[in-house]
Symmetry: C2
Subunit: 104 residues, 2 copies
DNA sequence: CTGTATCCGGATGGATACTG
DNA sequence: CAGTATCCATCCGGATACAG
């Protein structure tokens, strides 16, 4: 099975928090700005959104691009790696949607 | 996207903790006893293992069967629902394994 | 607009010892 | 064997206010 040191656990942990999978899903169809992400991830606070995005960025799943304008403009987009992982994540979300009625 | 009340979030949370996905994976190939599970999920304490198993059982992903013998014998196995969700989970694990080298 | 600072509560995970 | 009891540390998420 998976030994204690298996790094896959870290990845699972990364993807396995309340917002990460949702954030990746939100970015599947294209880049979004901070505020737009916050609106789509209904209920997330700016602090938690930042945390989530930073973790995903550090892991290489998404890219943050700053457009130095006034007002400030920042865009988040999936990297190739991010698009790649969004496939199994989407299949998990799909499973959840189609089995919701069976879950207690 | 996914509204705040969308129950899929709860399911994601359930699957998305340190051990749940691993436990489901361990049971894919057949029933296991408590002690055997603890050995396979290297490093888990009995308390946390119990918590994990109970949550999965309550959600209907696995079944707990007691064989009243001496010494006591308890077997955990996936329900149909559990086997069903193990498919997308396995694809996520597979993704992680094949992309580990790309992850920071 | 895009965050950071602060403070807080609760859940999760963990070590160890003990029990039916 | 299969857990439960206890106590504890930490991370995570959340509300609100404020800053570059």
């Amino acid at each position: 099975m998976y030994a204690a040191q298996c790094p896959c656990r870290d990845v699972l942990d990364l993807l396995a928090n309340k917002w990460a999978a949702l954030a990746i899903g939100a970015l599947e169809s294209g880049p979004l700005r901070f505020g737009e992400l916050q609106r789509r991830l209904e209920g997330i606070s700016p602090k938690v959104l930042t945390q989530t995005l930073r973790r995903l960025e550090d892991a290489g799943f998404l890219h943050r691009e700053i457009f130095p304008a006034v007002p400030l403009h920042v865009e988040y987009s999936l990297t190739d790696l991010g698009h790649s992982v969004s496939v199994p994540l989407a299949s998990l979300r799909t499973w959840v949607e189609s089995h919701l009625h069976e879950i207690t």
